[in-house]
Symmetry: C2
Subunit: 353 residues, 2 copies
DNA sequence: GTCGCGCGCTGCATCGATGTAACGTCGGAC
DNA sequence: GTCCGACGTTACATCGATGCAGCGCGCGAC
């Protein structure tokens, strides 16, 4: 059986509490005592029982991350970044997949596992406007994404509008004038598709370019397959294009593939830009220019906010909303020799209340 | 503050232990009592404090999964499957990334977090032959992969040799005779590359086809980029091919891309097969034929074995080694009209001791 | 010389649940 | 009629740690 503090105390000839003090770095301990305790710990190969410590302190050192599915590359990379950020804070991450299922999303915020974790980073897919009350729990939560906002809840999100605007501005700067858009969700306003389209339109307006509905192509799920289909539809409609903006990388990659199959030269004939900067994109040929939404920063910020909430639990902190920095990552799909050149276009992260 | 069993007991007018009995489904309780307790639980919105239960029972309901990185699609999908399988067993999953770093892999098996979890599913990358002693811990562990085996430790792995053999057999069955191989690791014997090459050679021998070293192409990391480079090298060498076997999907996708860039028709001129069956592959155009190594089964089996170990902890179970079933998933990259047709080629899962 | 305080350490209560022993009651077996 | 055992329930100890109060001691301040 594993050794307990009691065993260590007996071997070291001190009280159990002194062992606890040594383990927790309490400063007022004679050096000789500390040495003896440490020797006993070494000898018995003692490790603190975290379960017991948790019971006493109410902290577990585990945070939960709830995402739709890990098989979606963006979320896998987000999870990767969250785990790394948590590790830097001495925390481990427990992952829940809710699959965009409403019932399971609700279960995540109200579930019994709350006792197991110190807090939750939650990226919802089904919950949305109107569900704010569900988020009013007495438990540290950080929300991700743009589906739902609530005044009392910390939130980390991205500059969807500005980033999309920067992407289109960048294409316009290259001299492109007829920019196809892949991944539109007609009628949507608050989701990623709606916000990114809004940014695209602003960039066009800023450059006095017309907004042509004929250049928009719808895609339900934001997958490669859908991107290829949407691209095909756009080309088949006879639209004349010199650039394509895929609302995420999967769409852009699908679109790019369709273009290549048809013998279109990228970027000579048509330039392609995506959004998300998933790993996959830099391995495409040509490598995909894309908007990096600051995934790693989002992860770091979210973990930081959660840690902050955990430490100041009970006190009335005002809730914070942070927008991650983004940047346009220029690669070969827009500039022949631009492979992996990174260009910072905008950096904005004004915390707002 | 959250309600405790004590509160529930007071409200229901019973002892705290009776509440415990109700919560844990102990059968000998009068219906009226049970009803009263349940009502009190409902009224107070009581949830068991898992930390306290853990301390008492020594179980946490959490299992750890240690993988190199979630950003590698195969591991993201493995994690996805493990989380789903764990959920089916009432468990949650805590994920550790060791990044193939030896020190961190060792930390994972000996770390203090062991107390937080009931067991560990471990997919090592740095540990290998010679490190068996590190695995001899008094803690439920299930090993994945083919890097290291140890007599005392449960293991789930895949039929690398047989599966690769089936892939090549399948290509030969299509009438292909000159099969390029992308992803060779010269000199390797026990790793995936070595085993898969061995399977490939056997299939050639079985069909009385010559083994031509000139058809092998090396790739260090198994990425798309490396696949494309290896493919290019092979083509540039002047080798005549009618098929390509990528040792994983990323390699195969990279190779496929290189072929398409050069105007090679897939599968008319050259058929392409991969290995792993990651989601990405079915969205390629043409969709990639591949070997499904039974990732989901691997996950389910590993979780099952771990649960078994946890339940029979202490008793001297013999350790088990399971090989997952595999199958060749036929898609457009080898047969024009074979998109998403699945063909079971071999099913083998003889548990061995 | 006394007081107060910080140091180094201890003992006890406590976190919230579960396991064990044991209680009274009641029905059935002898 | 007595005894036994199953039933429904309870009290108490326990899991392994931490928080708090407090002890004896030495040292500096007044």
């Amino acid at each position: 059986m594993a050794a307990t503090m009691h065993d260590v105390a007996r071997v070291a000839g001190v009280s159990i509490k002194t062992v606890s003090n040594v383990v927790n770095g309490y400063p007022h301990i004679r050096d000789t005592t500390r040495t003896r305790v440490l020797a006993a710990i070494e000898q018995l190969d003692y490790q603190v029982n975290v379960a017991a410590r948790n019971l006493r302190t109410g902290r577990t050192g585990i945070i939960a991350l709830a995402v739709p599915e890990l098989r979606i590359p963006y979320f896998a990379e987000l999870a990767d970044a969250v785990i790394a950020a948590a590790r830097a804070n001495g925390l481990t991450v427990l992952i829940e997949q809710h699959g965009g299922d409403r019932a399971r999303e609700i279960e995540v915020i109200s579930g019994a596992r709350r006792h197991l974790t110190d807090g939750l980073i939650f990226s919802p897919l089904a919950l949305g406007a109107g569900d704010e009350s569900l988020l009013e729990v007495d438990f540290p939560i950080v929300l991700l994404g743009e589906r739902i906002f609530s005044d009392g809840v910390d939130h980390v999100t991205m500059h969807n509008v500005e980033a999309a605007r920067a992407a289109t501005e960048y294409l316009i700067g290259l001299g492109r004038r007829r920019i196809g858009v892949v991944g539109v969700h007609p009628g949507e306003v608050v989701g990623s598709a709606g916000l990114r389209l809004q940014g695209h339109r602003r960039a066009l307006a800023d450059a006095d370019l017309p907004f042509d509905e004929g250049l928009l192509s719808e895609a339900g799920p934001w997958s490669r397959a859908a991107g290829a289909r949407a691209m095909a539809a756009l080309l088949d409609s006879g639209a004349q294009l010199d650039a394509v903006f895929g609302f995420n990388d999967a769409l852009a990659l699908g679109a790019m593939h369709e273009l290549q199959v048809r013998g279109v030269r990228i970027p000579a004939d048509i330039a392609v830009i995506g959004f998300d900067n998933v790993d996959e994109s830099q391995y495409a040929f040509p490598a995909l220019t894309t908007v990096d939404p600051g995934t790693e920063q989002i992860a770091r910020t979210a973990v930081g906010m959660l840690v902050d909430q955990v430490m100041h639990k009970g006190s009335d902190r005002p809730s914070t909303r942070v927008y991650a920095d983004f940047r346009v990552v220029v690669r070969g799909s827009t500039e022949p020799d631009g492979v992996s050149v990174t260009r910072d276009v905008v950096a904005a992260a004004a915390p707002t209340v």
